[in-house]
């Protein structure tokens, strides 16, 4: 598990730099982070099917839920970048360890719900943790002084140091968050195992999906000119294509 945690923390650092330092390549989107974490965390050959399916669904639900069209400055400081990574890693690392108590049923939906819940809680706690990376006013004054004295090399080192710091804070949270929520899952889930039925997991999954659909509606249609018309067109075209493909099939 140590090797997997190291890989998860490296991925957490990369997505933190993508979100925090300005890469903005969208590596920090929950779907991308969750799928990459799924590729890096291997619970073993007997879990191969779930190792791919669970991160995909965790990433897709988090992607729908956390898609917010508000500008970054208008959003609460939540660490949505590592949410997919931590959620996916907790689900995959918890799956084989809790299997005797929590059987995989309903297509692994229970583990998708556990991963999404871990990802959401991780986004909140990670937002608090990321405050460690806030820049002190003294660093601004130091950068000024270095530039004024012509020490541009030292200014560059100061700047690169901040990139490394962003990486380390993200990596530390991905590592610590995964351990924290995995510990919580291993400790508390067996105590409520009898209540965690496939039916109840399905109810939770559907509720999250309903909220995700509304989040997507909020992001793509609400308040946009002629968006309802375009959404209806998209729906009609898809119905037409799906029916056409179905009738052309064997």
């Amino acid at each position: 598990m140590v090797a997997e945690l190291i890989r998860v923390s490296l991925l957490g650092g990369i997505v933190a730099v993508d979100r925090g330092a300005g890469w903005s390549l969208m590596l920090s989107q929950p779907l991308v982070g969750a799928c990459l974490a799924g590729a890096l965390v291997n619970p073993g050959p007997e879990w191969e099917l779930w190792a791919l399916r669970v991160p995909l669904m965790v990433g897709a639900i988090l992607q729908l839920l956390l898609t917010d069209p508000a500008l970054p400055a208008a959003q609460r400081p939540r660490d949505t970048a590592t949410a997919g990574v931590v959620g996916s890693a907790v689900a995959l690392l918890g799956l084989p360890r809790l299997h005797p108590a929590l059987a995989v049923s309903g297509g692994g939906i229970l583990w998708v719900v556990i991963g999404v819940a871990a990802g959401l809680l991780s986004a909140v706690a990670g937002g608090w943790f990321a405050r460690l990376n806030r820049m002190a006013p003294a660093a601004v004054a130091r950068a000024d002084a270095l530039a004024l004295s012509g020490a541009v090399d030292r200014f560059e080192r100061l700047y690169w140091g901040s990139v490394v710091r962003t990486f380390l804070v993200g990596a530390a949270w991905a590592w610590g968050g995964t351990i924290l929520f995995l510990w919580a899952a291993l400790t508390y889930l067996p105590k409520i195992a009898s209540a965690l039925t496939a039916r109840r997991a399905g109810v939770l999954f559907a509720t999250l999906l309903g909220a995700g659909v509304v989040a997507a509606l909020n992001a793509h249609v609400t308040g946009r000119r002629r968006a309802v018309r375009w959404a209806l067109l998209g729906a009609f075209v898809t119905v037409f294509v799906v029916r056409g493909l179905a009738s052309a099939g064997p």
Binding site: G22, S24, A39, Q63, L64, L208, G234, V242
Partner: protein, 270 residues
């Protein structure tokens, strides 16, 4: 005495624009990042450390624009610095005013395009890929785990990367005509296009999600009421989501946790 800027200098500055927010702070915003990004160009323009340090100090002032488009301002400022180093009477204030005059409209046009429209669209395309790509048959690998994130990355970066890679050089070349430069970027037109694409993709997503995830409704026995009850959690999530996004705009995590809590209450009841 200054040296002529080379293609490699522009490439180095463009690469540094990818880290422009590493020292983001409320006092200067991206000011320190701007200084860091323009430094390879200043090194060429001012070979002596004294004037180079003074020029760097000028560029550490408050600066805020959209990170994808920051390169255009870096290139424009480098052109002004070059002319100043060649002896033209260009003041500190005039360089700062030019930067602000370009940075503000770039932020006003870039934020809606990249943050408000393209980023959510990229995420939706990734989720849509999950519904469109067929699940693996026995013995074949599940490529969706690779293709879905790839769809997110390609959708966003196919639009954003050309701006980021060419920004510094184009800002340098067209910096004297900022209005023409802004028009040539077609940010507003592309925003309209991607807004429509996002709404279209949402309509497609609804149909595909509805056809793939029927929650057992199609196979359920009983009457319409029983079938409708199967969709109750989905409706509950939608209602909590709608109320939550209205009450707490900009707080998707809190809205999602509220939906999870509401789902927990319903799950305990079933």
């Amino acid at each position: 005495m200054s040296g002529a800027l080379r293609r490699g200098d522009f490439a180095r500055a463009a690469a540094r624009c990818f880290h422009i927010q590493a020292l983001l702070n409320p006092e200067r915003m991206q000011g320190l990042g701007f200084g860091f990004a323009i430094l390879p160009l200043l090194r060429r323009i001012y070979p002596e450390s004294g004037p180079r340090g003074a020029a760097l100090r000028r560029h550490l002032a408050y600066f805020a624009t959209h990170p994808v488009l920051a390169g255009f301002v870096v290139g424009t400022a480098a052109r002004l610095e070059e002319r100043r180093a060649a002896g033209e009477p260009i003041s500190d204030e005039s360089i700062d005013a030019t930067k602000r005059a370009l940075a503000s409209p770039l932020a006003a046009l870039g934020d809606p395009l990249f943050w408000v429209t393209l980023r959510p669209l990229a995420g939706l395309i990734g989720v849509l890929s999950l519904l469109l790509i067929p699940p693996p048959t026995a013995g074949t690998p599940d490529l969706r785990v690779l293709l879905c994130p790839l769809a997110v990355l390609l959708t966003y970066n196919a639009v954003a990367l050309p701006y980021r890679l060419s920004g510094v050089a184009r800002g340098y070349a067209d910096g004297d005509r900022p209005a023409a430069l802004l028009n040539s970027l077609q940010l507003s037109e592309r925003n309209t296009l991607f807004e429509r694409a996002g709404a279209f993709a949402f309509g497609a997503f609804l149909v595909l999600a509805g056809s793939k995830l029927d929650f057992g409704v199609s196979s359920a026995g009983g009457g319409a009421v029983q079938r409708a009850l199967l969709l109750a959690p989905l409706v509950l999530g939608g209602v909590v989501g709608a109320a939550g996004f209205r009450a707490w705009p900009g707080r998707p995590v809190e809205v999602a946790l509220a939906a999870l809590a509401a789902g927990g209450v319903m799950a305990a009841w079933v």
